[in-house]
């Protein structure tokens, strides 16, 4: 008798992803006649959480779902998920857990338990327009390695027309929707950690954070190398293609898009450093949902192990541009060939060494919401960095107090 599994997955990088997941599950089902997997496309990350929670409350939870890694605390708080540990009993299993990049696991474990298995994970990187660099008299093969270099390059790259209107900005760090993510890159580079591993304490008012935020604002106001105000995330690649900006910070999830559409030669680099290199991770993990039978859970874990195994993971990475979460994947022939053909793909992997957990706490969306608002207020010049962050910290404290 076959075990039925229902598996929700979001898509955040376009049509190919859905197809690939569907293909992979079909392949698995074909190989394992004792399991039927119903892979259900569940919209964006937001939609997926909504669907999962609604279904769970309606008494009809899925057995497995890919959801943002940062929602781990929320899901625990809602009592919707169970840790993987109960089903990872053998040594082999434990080794398997340790086989993921530690940066990704930071958002997947808490209280000594593993709640999430990294799957469609990403990290932000810096893209640069080699032709623009050349035109500005810079070495087209060298990306800025530090904040200062970024500013320096940026000044050279910022072009104005006769009437003083900027036609090309130096850099573009989008700040719409979820500004905390890219900002976190700056913060980490400045040596700050935004939240603790227990997810019940934030450090928004850390002077290093304030300093990082001030730098972000200065990019527009003082150095005038970035467009002022909130910079739209969705339009950023297009702005890059259109020559509106010579450098941009955005997710590795854009790699395929940029490769296909940039009408010029471009480079990909790690984010520049201040006191250290650094970047947040991002993206989604597998979660096991409550309410399933033991058999279902076991089958689900087996499926997760299969789909994150090197061969499958390689396919997935190549199709979507997500960073393969296990080093061993990069050792496969397929990945090697891919990397040889498209070197930029390796940058994200290499950056993982310096990457830190994405901001994640209990009541995560609310806390990051507060933080986002503070960032927006500072970026748009409505508040100064120190006050805004102090207020945000106070609010976050109020919310998180009950989880300590």
């Amino acid at each position: 008798q076959a075990v039925d599994l229902q598996f929700y997955f979001p898509v955040a990088v376009g049509g190919k992803a859905a197809e690939t997941i569907q293909g992979l599950t079909d392949e698995y089902a074909a190989q394992n006649p004792d399991v039927t997997i119903d892979a259900v496309y569940a919209g964006s990350y937001q939609d997926t959480v909504a669907k999962a929670i609604t279904a769970s409350r309606g008494g009809n939870p899925p057995q497995l779902s890919v959801i943002l890694s940062v929602d781990m605390f929320t899901l625990i708080d809602e009592d919707l998920i169970v840790p993987f540990d109960d089903y990872l009993t053998t040594d082999e299993d434990k080794k398997w857990v340790d086989g993921f990049y530690p940066a990704f696991m930071e958002n997947s474990q808490t209280g000594g338990k593993t709640y999430g298995i990294p799957f469609q994970r990403s990290t932000p990187v810096l893209y640069w327009n080699k032709e623009a660099f050349e035109a500005a008299g810079l070495d087209p093969e060298v990306a800025p390695a530090t904040w200062d270099e970024m500013v320096e390059f940026g000044k050279k790259l910022t072009k104005k027309d006769a009437s003083g209107n900027v036609t090309q900005w130096g850099v573009r760090i989008p700040s719409s929707g979820f500004p905390y993510w890219l900002f976190q890159g700056l913060a980490i580079e400045n040596g700050a950690i935004l939240a603790n591993a227990e997810g019940n304490k934030t450090n928004f008012d850390d002077p290093k954070v304030v300093e990082a935020l001030q730098f972000l604002v200065d990019l527009s106001t003082e150095y005038e190398i970035m467009a002022p105000g909130i910079v739209e995330w969705g339009a950023t690649p297009k702005a890059f293609f259109e020559g509106q900006t010579a450098m941009m910070w955005t997710s590795t999830g854009n790699l395929t898009n940029v490769r296909d559409n940039a009408p010029f030669k471009f480079g990909v680099a790690m984010l520049p450093e201040k006191v250290q290199r650094g970047a947040p991770t991002g993206g989604g993990n597998f979660y096991l949902f409550k309410g399933a039978s033991d058999e279902q859970n076991k089958a689900a874990v087996k499926f997760v192990q299969w789909i994150t195994a090197p061969e499958q993971s390689a396919k997935w990475t190549i199709a979507t541009g997500y960073v393969a979460p296990r080093p061993e994947t990069w050792e496969t022939e397929t990945m090697k060939a891919y990397a040889a053909d498209f070197a930029p793909a390796l940058v994200a992997r290499d950056q993982l060494e310096f990457a830190k957990a994405e901001l994640s706490t209990y009541q995560n969306q609310r806390v990051t919401g507060i933080f986002n608002d503070a960032l927006a207020a500072v970026i748009t010049g409505k508040k100064d960095a120190a006050t805004a962050l102090k207020e945000a910290q106070a609010e976050a404290d109020k919310i998180l107090a009950e989880y300590r």
């Binding site: 229902q6 898509v11 955040a12 990088v13 376009g14 049509g15 859905a18 197809e19 119903d38 259900v40 496309y41 569940a42 919209g43 964006s44 990350y45 939609d47 909504a50 669907k51 929670i53 609604t54 279904a55 409350r57 309606g58 008494g59 009809n60 990403s122 929707g177 995330w233 969705g234 339009a235 950023t236 690649p237 297009k238 293609f241 259109e242 955005t250 997710s251 999830g253 854009n254 395929t256 898009n257 296909d260 559409n261 009408p263 991002g282 993206g283 541009g321």
Partner: protein, 273 residues
């Protein structure tokens, strides 16, 4: 003299109407532009930019759209039929019958206009599960079949139907349902058309509730397929999104082009002094 003034007046009107129309059609025009050109021309409007159908191919391949179209078609038909029947009956009651509690009940209907269905998603999901309807097309449809909007709209229309016509039909021995069927509904035809188009458009484009209450290809509407393109992690790819939008809205545009003439019917209200 006056002829000139009239002509100027007419000219200004036509001019303004067209100016507004051009602004209004801009998003659609942009969608068409991007959908038929390679992505590089998303923000560059050159007359001789190369044309391509690739965006449509890409969009069509991203999801089982054929099936989704069928589902959507079944869905909107179901909703529309339900709405027409339920709203017509209720609106008729409100417009032409006096009964105790009428105002309170009407207030309850108006209340439905205020309540956002999405807010009630969790409760409605539970109801659907109780009814064993999760992952079926009726589950998407049911919460919408009794529409406060429709009842309100039809009530307003029915109220303007001349009472004499109602009376004449009743004299001829027509029961109240016959009167409804033979007098009110035909006279409200433009309103039904308007409501039909609006309702179909709305449910054709509804997304969140269908996404949540259905799981399988056999039940999901086109919007679910469409949503694949509103990806967050990568930037907005206007050419593909717009191709997909045009593809999914195509039938609606077509339906509108077919029906729009019906909006203007000039027979109304002759035959009564």
């Amino acid at each position: 003299m006056s002829g000139l003034a009239t002509n100027l007046d007419r000219f200004l009107n036509v001019f303004a109407a067209w100016a507004l129309a051009l602004i209004w059609v801009l998003p659609l025009a942009y969608a068409v532009w991007t959908a038929f050109h390679p992505a590089a021309y998303e923000a560059r409007f050159e007359l001789f930019a190369p044309l391509t159908l690739e965006n449509f191919v890409k969009a069509w391949d991203a999801a089982p759209f054929a099936r989704y179209f069928l589902n959507t078609f079944i869905l909107v038909t179901m909703i529309l039929a339900g709405q027409f029947i339920l709203c017509t009956l209720a609106a008729y009651a409100f417009a032409r019958f006096a009964f105790p509690g009428r105002n309170i009940l009407f207030a309850l209907v108006l209340l439905q206009l205020l309540v956002m269905p999405d807010i009630l998603m969790v409760e409605n999901y539970q109801t659907m599960r109780l009814l064993h309807l999760v992952d079926t097309i009726p589950a998407i449809a049911l919460p919408y079949v009794a529409s406060g909007f429709g009842i309100f709209l039809l009530r307003q229309t029915f109220m303007t139907v001349p009472k004499e016509l109602d009376e004449a039909a009743r004299i001829e021995g027509a029961s109240f349902l016959t009167v409804l069927w033979k007098v009110y509904i035909p006279l409200a035809k433009p309103t039904y058309l308007a409501y039909g188009l609006v309702s179909v458009s709305h449910h054709w484009n509804n997304f969140l509730w269908p996404l949540i209450v259905t799981n399988s290809v056999e039940t999901r509407p086109v919007t679910v397929g469409l949503s694949v393109f509103s990806a967050i992690d990568s930037g907005v790819e206007w050419s593909v999104i717009n191709a997909a939008t045009l593809m999914t809205s195509g039938p609606l545009l077509l339906a509108f082009l077919l029906f729009q003439r019906q909006f203007v019917q000039s027979f109304m209200r002759a035959g009564i002094k």
